[in-house]
């Protein structure tokens, strides 16, 4: 009993030590971490992207592009006379991890803005954190939830699935497609929204959707899906997905005779190379920058070239869509910071909402009720020919009349 009492007393005194230290800490914690965004030091931008995990092909393109862009900007004298500094965090293609990394960056007041994940579900999930941290955020993935501007701090730097769906259906209607099969990633915002938008646009255009199936993002065998599509014999088969699954579907569809249609998530050698011969002739929506070499001369082609030429020199191949998206993300933030004349979070946000700027991926016209900025004129329809993306006749004709400038 004596020992027990002694232990309790001791524990009380330990608790007292902890309590005192705690009070001291609390009184000190009113000062928030990180230096403010104003001053003469570098302007800091945070980036959270999937460098590992099943979406690593997206993050790899983003990362290299962002680094190239930032290096070029700093060589040319920086932004507002200050160097641009980026911190890139890996969200491991995992939504909770993405939110965690985002919050870690957001808590540091020295960051002026964030480029959030190219993983759509992850970027969507950080939206509320952007608002609560009052931190201007441009998503590197197509986040439909940010499009209407209801979240004042969140913007999307990529054409949203609704725009891609509309562009695809416009093309299909022009080409005389009557019966369409659709497969999409279930339980994923890119897949679900893309599918819903395609269904709506197809109905409008009078195209019958004969198959509409969800598939598992991490699946490795899609033969039941493929069998179903083959049995329905549609005029075309559109896949909404990212990562390895569309590659596997492409291989399993080989030789079926049904034209395969993909979205911008496949506008990368990281899809074309593993899919190999099976990818030949696959038609897809992509950013207008992807067939950049076939664009008519003009300001857009110049911007695309300014990014693509050094990339080709460094990497030996033409940049994938995700690289252009990363470059556009940086350019949007830089344009906003320059317009604001400040790296202050609130001023950058205001400038973003009022931005009207041409980027390699099209003209962004943000407003208080449009945080998506891009329209169908920023989307090209390309076909894989000899392992490269070739603009379709349909898009080449559109370039002449309807090109962002």
């Amino acid at each position: 009993m004596a020992r027990l009492n002694e232990e309790v007393t001791m524990f009380k005194s330990r608790l007292a030590v902890i309590a005192v230290a705690g009070v001291l800490s609390l009184s000190a914690c009113s000062s928030s971490s990180g230096t403010p965004t104003e001053g003469s030091g570098p302007i800091k931008i945070g980036v959270v992207i999937p460098l590992t995990g099943f979406l690593s092909p997206l993050g790899a393109g983003d990362k290299a592009a962002i680094e190239q862009e930032v290096e070029a900007i700093n060589k040319a004298g920086g932004v507002l006379g200050r160097d641009l500094e980026v911190t890139i965090k890996d969200d491991k293609s995992d939504v909770p991890q993405s939110v965690t990394e985002y919050n870690q960056l957001a808590a540091d007041r020295s960051y002026s803005a964030i480029l959030s994940s190219s993983f759509v579900s992850a970027s969507t999930a950080v939206g509320p954190s952007a608002e609560s941290n009052k931190l201007p955020t441009v998503a590197l993935g197509p986040v439909s939830a940010f499009a209407d501007g209801s979240n004042p701090y969140a913007f999307t730097g990529v054409a949203i699935p609704e725009v891609y769906a509309q562009a695809m259906v416009d093309y299909l209607a022009d080409q005389g497609y009557k019966r369409l099969a659709i497969a999409y990633v279930g339980d994923d915002l890119y897949g679900e929204i893309g599918n819903a938008a395609t269904l709506a646009a197809a109905k409008e255009a009078g195209i019958d959707v004969v198959v509409d199936e969800a598939f598992d993002q991490t699946g490795t065998d899609f033969s039941p899906l493929v069998a179903k599509v083959k049995a329905a014999a549609p005029d075309g088969f559109l896949v909404w997905g990212a990562g390895p699954a569309p590659v596997i579907i492409t291989k399993q569809m080989e030789g079926s005779g049904i034209p395969l249609l993909m979205t911008g998530a496949q506008a990368s050698q990281l899809y074309v190379e593993p899919a190999g011969a099976a990818a030949e002739g696959v038609t897809m929506t992509s950013s207008i920058a992807v067939p950049g070499r076939e664009l008519p001369a003009g300001p857009l082609k110049d911007l695309v070239g300014a990014f693509a030429d050094p990339w080709v020199e460094a990497n030996g191949s033409y940049p994938p869509q995700f690289a252009f998206d990363g470059a556009t993300g940086v350019q949007l933030l830089v344009a906003a910071i320059e317009k604001a004349g400040s790296a202050d979070r609130e001023k950058v946000r205001d400038a973003l909402e009022d931005l009207d700027v041409l980027t390699p991926t099209g003209r962004f016209t943000f407003s208080s009720d449009d945080h998506a900025g891009l329209d169908t004129d920023a989307v090209a329809i390309v076909t894989i020919t000899d392992g490269d993306f070739k603009t379709t006749e349909y898009s080449l004709a559109r370039f002449q009349t309807d090109l962002p400038s």
Binding site: C29, S132, D187
Partner: protein, 334 residues
């Protein structure tokens, strides 16, 4: 009690004070508060698990289920019902504890490995429920959980969360300490030795197991609730089974059935994982070597720890201190 025992308390006490001071200084010197926060939350969960496994002799591979219940309580309470943050944070351990008491009635009839598998199944069921019912988040999870705050003051920074977690960890340790040294606690310890013997000595076995199970779930729920405020997004993916296994590893490494075992285990294993993560993500390394290095080193160190300190770090250090002390005591007397 006798003199040797009193002497042996002193160095331990010094260690505790050092730990407390380190804990209070860390939030102000460490850059990565996310890591610190995760470590503290793990320490809260593992303290409960150590109580369950060490004192009551019951295994749980699915402690994440109760972490999830606490987090969902906060997520649903704040975003769906608009309840005040303090209220839902208090409710989180209560809901998790009540849930454990409910499922514990059938679950605790299982013993040993079967109970471990049963708790793992429980975690998977909770995850499935979360992804199936849109009310609990569905496939896309619940985001938009507001920052924690009381009255007019709202946490705008990570540091107050870390300090709150520290305070709650102290509270959890204090409660655990009181329970272990109570009459009830002695009954529980008897139960871990032999259920039959404990029952014949008048210990209400089922009730005792249920209470400890619920208490460990309350700790987990508290950690879950706090984590939902810290990382304002809750989905089934937030509570992978692997994390629940890590809790068990932390409890075993720290030392089952010791007050500080959970904390020590959480600190050691979290730090080890973080260091391995840092080393393996060095850009110079070939991409395949990183993960191999990470998992092989982790596994290797765990095997070594269990070989040379089978009872865990805390009991091993304790007996070393006692040995050194009694040697010094003998030397003093001669």
């Amino acid at each position: 009690m006798d003199r040797v025992n009193l002497r042996s308390v002193n160095p331990r006490n010094v260690l505790v004070v050092v730990a407390a001071v380190a804990g209070c200084v860390a939030p102000f010197v460490m850059g990565d508060l996310t890591f610190l926060m995760r470590m503290l939350l793990a320490a809260i969960v593992v303290t409960g698990l150590s109580l369950l496994m060490g004192y009551a002799g019951q295994a749980s591979l699915g402690q994440g289920a109760f972490v999830a219940v606490g987090a969902v309580t906060v997520a649903v309470g704040t975003t769906r019902w608009g309840l005040p943050p303090l209220l839902v944070l208090v409710a989180a351990p209560l809901v998790a504890g009540a849930f454990a008491a409910l499922v514990g009635v059938p679950l605790l009839r299982l013993r040993g490995h079967y109970l471990a598998f049963g708790t793992l199944a429980l975690l998977l069921m909770v995850q499935t429920a979360m992804s199936t019912f849109d009310f609990l988040g569905g496939a896309f999870g619940i985001s938009g959980i507001p920052a924690f705050g009381v009255g007019g003051s709202v946490f705008t920074d990570q540091r107050p969360y870390v300090l709150l977690a520290l305070g709650l960890l102290a509270l959890v340790l204090f409660v655990t300490h009181r329970i272990v040294d109570s009459r009830f606690g002695r009954g529980i310890r008897a139960l871990a030795g032999s259920e039959t013997a404990a029952e014949s000595a008048g210990v209400p076995v089922m009730r005792g197991k249920l209470v400890i199970f619920a208490l460990s779930a309350m700790y987990a729920g508290l950690a879950g609730g706090l984590s939902a405020f810290f990382t304002p997004y809750v989905s089934p993916d937030s509570f992978p089974a692997l994390e629940s296994f890590t809790y068990v590893i932390m409890a075993v490494v720290g030392g089952l059935g010791t007050l500080w075992g959970g904390v020590v285990g959480a600190v050691l294993v979290s730090t080890l994982l973080q260091v391995l993560n840092l080393v393996s993500s060095q850009p110079q390394l070939p991409p395949t070597l990183g993960p191999i290095l990470q998992y092989a080193t982790y596994g290797g160190l765990l095997v070594l720890a269990l070989l040379f300190m089978p009872r865990g770090v805390v009991p091993a250090v304790q007996s070393a201190v006692t040995r050194a002390d009694s040697r010094r005591g003998r030397a003093g007397r001669t």
